[in-house]
Chain length 141, copies 2
Amino acid sequence: MKNIETMIENFKKIARSKGMKITPQRVAIYRELVSRHDHPSAEDIYDALKGKFAGISLATVYRTLTSLENAGLAMKVATVNGVARFDGKITPHSHFICKVCGRVIDIDCEVNVETEKLKKYNFSVEKCEIIYYGVCDKCQN
Amino acid sequence: MKNIETMIENFKKIARSKGMKITPQRVAIYRELVSRHDHPSAEDIYDALKGKFAGISLATVYRTLTSLENAGLAMKVATVNGVARFDGKITPHSHFICKVCGRVIDIDCEVNVETEKLKKYNFSVEKCEIIYYGVCDKCQN
DNA sequence: GTTTTTGCAAACGCTTTGCACGTAG
DNA sequence: CTACGTGCAAAGCGTTTGCAAAAAC
């Protein structure tokens, strides 16, 4: 799913199947989200779009991100300094958060979770989120 | 470190060594935090204390939790529905968050992280946070 | 006595929401 | 034509902060 246009077609198909309407705003927000890999905040997306898109509102970005989450097309992957960060990559992967610059970086490192031992809790586990914290390469001087 | 009074003595020692003053509020907040294992929010602690402690303020609870974090005596372990949750247990462990009731539960399940592969990123990794999401035993009916 | 901490209330900042208008289907 | 989405501004809400009084050391 690397081709952006393919992803947008997929988005339209899924959105329609969920009864969502395909608006120019939604397409633009989804395109922006999947085009970049810095896990933007709602405001990041808003800032990137307001130049090309007269009158787009921050509220619409928030509402669209929530819709995308509900449709399984996006995820809130972290909260850095009180600001939610989103990802259009929905395949399982981990993240590293730099406590200096706040960058959120994808980590494709394998993790072996002893899920056998988790069974004793009798929980229905749906998701496992792994976040590493530290200082990124650029911030180490 | 199971004995509460022992933990409080340890807290006083560390706090003093960091130049912090030992106030009745701080002792009460720390005691409340380490006495319970439900990962309370600042408001949970405030609610539990305001009965026994005339005039304690929510701001003091927030400030104390921040001080405890800085002293390495507590941690913000999760944010559930926009509310930060704290833990006085600072040894490494994971958490399960029930998306129905919002409970945060300690998980002492081993995880083998392939830290070797992390090295290629040239990050200085200080912490690894693992959170499982799903539905807890009580909420499954 | 000096410095830190507290309580109160106000301020903050991200996010959500009510409403009238616009637009997709 | 009807239901859903949008823009705007206002409201929400957890958390932080300024300040004078109080307490720790």
